[in-house]
């Protein structure tokens, strides 16, 4: 086993393009069953952005993902990815998708190497025979996520966090400038979460655009600079500080969100009116200190992480 799992050693070649943007205008998606999953949704995202897509189950998060990948045809509205229509962007491998862990058959007989190589398929000819450059990019991507020593493992033999990193490596190998991540923190330990977040930040610096569907409200203010709040339409979209407020979250989640309010009097014996609010969608909770509902959450610091 080689032990060269240095995180930043092989970044060249994996991160290339910049200038990714997503423009969703008046998007309406109606399924065959008559269900109107998303109605008149609009938001704009610029290069070098990490954006959280937040909402209850059934609020249209996965429909928006599907629309961006071209799986569903909008009944109305338009999506442009880096200025191109969806079909063309998909053909050019602009969009890299990191699926939810539950959607993967972990018993499938593929090695870590094989999965990451799938990221190169969109760049190969119809016989899908890897070139030397493809092999190099797969190695570089694996090294970047610190998974080089697990290259020859069957994917089911990995831990939850390692599994995530493999699929992230596939997205890197694909070299898409827009990366869609579906619940990347589910079933992942804090150490891996921190590693994933710092990788996403590096990608942001390189001009990538990441759209993350997440229930992990607590980590949103840490690393997302934009938030899109959904409930069948866009309730609010914009910078995290403006959008990710208690008032907006209550609007997006209604009664679904668990909420604990501890007033100032319950916390301390003085005149300080500030209290503590804990909002959780049953993953890492969002903790808000303060007295006003409109106030945004300050980014919480994680252990072992430089302040940005």
């Amino acid at each position: 086993m080689n032990m060269i799992a240095g995180p930043a050693s092989a970044s060249a070649g994996v991160i290339g393009q910049a200038g990714a943007s997503i423009s969703v205008r008046g998007l309406t998606v109606t399924y065959n069953t008559g269900l109107r999953a998303v109605h008149d949704a609009s938001f704009e995202l610029d290069p070098g952005t990490i954006c959280a897509l937040v909402g209850v189950n059934g609020s249209g998060k996965s429909t928006i993902f599907k629309a961006i990948m071209g799986f569903v045809t909008p009944a109305a509205g338009e999506i442009r990815l880096s200025g191109r229509p969806v079909a063309e962007a998909v053909r050019r491998n602009v969009v890299a998708y990191v699926p939810q862990s539950e959607d993967i058959d972990w018993n499938f007989p593929v090695l870590v190497d094989d999965v990451v190589m799938m990221g190169r398929y969109g760049h190969m000819n119809f016989l899908r025979i890897p070139s030397r450059a493809d092999v190099y990019k797969v190695h570089a991507a694996l090294e970047r996520v610190g998974m080089s020593e697990y290259r020859k493992r069957q994917i089911g033999e990995l831990s939850g966090g390692q599994k995530k990193r493999v699929f992230l490596a596939r997205a890197l190998a694909q070299e898409g400038s827009i990366i869609l991540l579906d619940e990347p923190f589910t079933g992942v330990d804090v150490k891996t979460e921190t590693a994933i977040i710092s990788l996403l930040r590096e990608l942001r610096s390189a001009g990538h655009l990441m759209l993350i569907s997440t229930h992990n409200l607590g980590s949103v203010p840490d690393f997302c600079d934009q938030v899109v709040l959904l409930n069948r339409t866009v309730l609010a979209a914009g910078p995290t500080a403006e959008v990710f407020t208690q008032a907006n979250l209550e609007r997006a989640f209604g009664g679904v969100l668990r909420q604990f309010n501890l007033g100032g009097a319950a916390l301390h014996d003085d005149e300080d009116p500030r209290g503590l609010t804990v909002l959780t969608d049953d993953e890492r909770p969002l903790v808000i200190y303060g007295d006003r509902k409109g106030q945004s959450a300050p980014p919480a610091k994680r252990p072992g992480e430089p302040t940005s």
């Binding site: 053909r91 491998n93 969009v95 998708y97 058959d105 499938f108 090695l111 094989d114 119809f126």
Partner: protein
Amino acid sequence: MMAELLVPFGYDYMLKAMWVSALVGGVCAFLSAYLVMKGWSLMGDALAHSVVPGVAGAYILGVPFAVGAFFSGILASLGMAFVRQHSRLREDAVIGIVFTSLFALGLLMASIWPTSVSVQNIVLGNILAISDEDVVQVAIISAVSLGLLLLKWKDLMITFFDEAYARSIGLNTVMLKALFFTLLSACTVAALQTVGACLVIAMVVTPGATAYLLTDRFGRLIVISIMLGAGTSFVGAYLSYFIDGATGGVIVSLQTLLFLAAFVFAPKHGILAGRRRAAMAGAPV
């Protein structure tokens, strides 16, 4: 002794049977690699039984059996899709109802309008008496299927492994799955000739299942599966000369033997390997 063992190679009909069986067995095994990964094994069985009325009808009307089989295969797929969409039944119940209905219809047709081909030949297969026209059909079906699979095996692998991702890189997964099921129906029809409708399911499941126990890489799984499928079919047809038994029974019995061997002795995924691992884990370090 040696001369006796070579006797089957002296007969044209035996040579034909062995090579046709091997070809069909190999292609079915290729498909089995995919089928067992998706939990769709019963679909193979369903398709094989569903094409029986088509085959019976084709012999009655005197058209190539592949044409009839193709039509009833399509009918079965559409029927299953229709019942599933318009009822609350689970998939296995829908498959069970549709394929048994068609199978019954086939038996009924064959007994009402007896033809040169008996019900028994359709149900149990009779490769030793295969006609030259049927050999041509089987060879064409197998060769075309093999060619398409060799061209598209990686695209099919991604589609079966991670369909959402396959679509996101621009693969037409609907077309690929349609291609797969078309090939599956075509090859089950071809395999009817060798092992019959009842045992086709083994041809499109057992080699893949055995290979899955032996490797962690899909490409190797396909190669092992094909070797198992083609090898057992060839040897099975050969052996059936001596034991005077139904070829299908011999082929499938061989496949089962190899499966059992892999099940017990496979280096990583076999029972013994599992025991060894458990013992190692339990032992004090």
